[in-house]
Symmetry: C2
Subunit: 199 residues, 2 copies
């Protein structure tokens, strides 16, 4: 398969790349490095990416940020950080990509455990995760040409433990291997409309 | 209790008003009629509402729109209709309201079955419902002063069957009585962070 991997240089993206590259042609897309530069908060940038890398069989995302901080200090603009990035960024990857991707192609997005199991200061992420999970279920029944869409929804991943464990008291870190397998299940499997929970 | 009911003139709001008014002081808020006019897509309008109706014990929402239509024709702006209205409109009701509402007050928002059980053309609603459900769970653990927050998440309600049943093939209409009880459970009960599914 020919695959675009958005967020290829991130904590999760790196591990997904390593596995996918053993058996697929993988184009690394990131905000600042890789085979192609893409800013998912900018729809025109997404359009340019698909024009530069045509005829892909899978679009895979391991990117997307949101505001992290206590509700008391959050402004409306803080909510819109995640709305424009992890939420509409991923939705635009699908909305634009559906016209470029090959028949029977797949989209694999990313959310996370905070959609249903919140932590302090994580509500900006919880909100966008919940939105994208629901978007994936709803879009799966609308896609044409046998296109598929799923979302990998991991818990705290082991490679992020050092940086984030203090915000996730009592959470069981998830092995990178399990997360990578979640992506493989979506990309190489046949399901659609699934929230692939890895926790 | 002194209660602000946003969307008091809608299909669900009317029934919630009838019940609440039997034992509470209910201020009806709507976009075009009622005791006070509020546009939930406009944060300044929400601020004005809370200043005009101070010291409430419960903020109850039965309002919020989103784009309805096939994914193929949806534009980015179409997604933002729901983001600004049912999603950030309700989030702003909480974000602004938390500084005005009485100690031990409650917020009761509204979403719907499409968050997890999509229908054709409903993805704009699915997305915002998923976002608000996750927001409620995440915000419940951040609210101070024993404030509470829940969301009523109904299926197709019986009073909307004539208008919408054709979009919900095979769905069991939910009685208005059950929906009203969902609101009562949130407003008069003690739970917080709950998605009160009525279907």
């Amino acid at each position: 398969m020919k695959i675009i991997l958005v967020g290829a240089s991130g904590t999760i993206g790196k591990k997904v790349y390593e596995r996918l590259a053993t058996r697929h042609e993988v184009i690394k897309a990131s905000a600042h490095q890789g085979n192609i530069i893409v800013d998912i908060t900018n729809r025109a940038s997404i359009e340019r990416m698909y024009k530069a890398v045509p005829n892909v069989d899978a679009v895979v995302c391991a990117a997307g940020g949101a505001h992290f901080g206590p509700f008391d200090n959050m402004t409306e603009d803080d909510f819109y950080i995640g709305i424009r990035d992890k939420m509409m960024g991923q939705i635009n990857l699908v909305m634009v990509g559906k016209d470029y991707i090959n028949d029977r192609g797949s989209f694999t997005l990313i959310t996370g455990i905070l959609a249903e199991d919140p932590i302090r200061m994580g509500l900006g992420l919880s909100m966008v995760n919940g939105a994208v999970n629901a978007f994936v279920k709803a879009t799966a029944i609308e896609l044409k040409r046998n296109l598929r869409i799923n979302v990998v929804c991991p818990g705290l991943v082991e490679d992020a433990v050092e940086k984030y464990a203090r915000y996730f008291p009592g959470h069981n870190p998830v092995s990178m291997e399990r997360v990578v397998k979640g992506y493989i299940r979506s990309i190489e499997g046949a399901n659609t409309g699934q929230v692939i929970k890895i926790y």
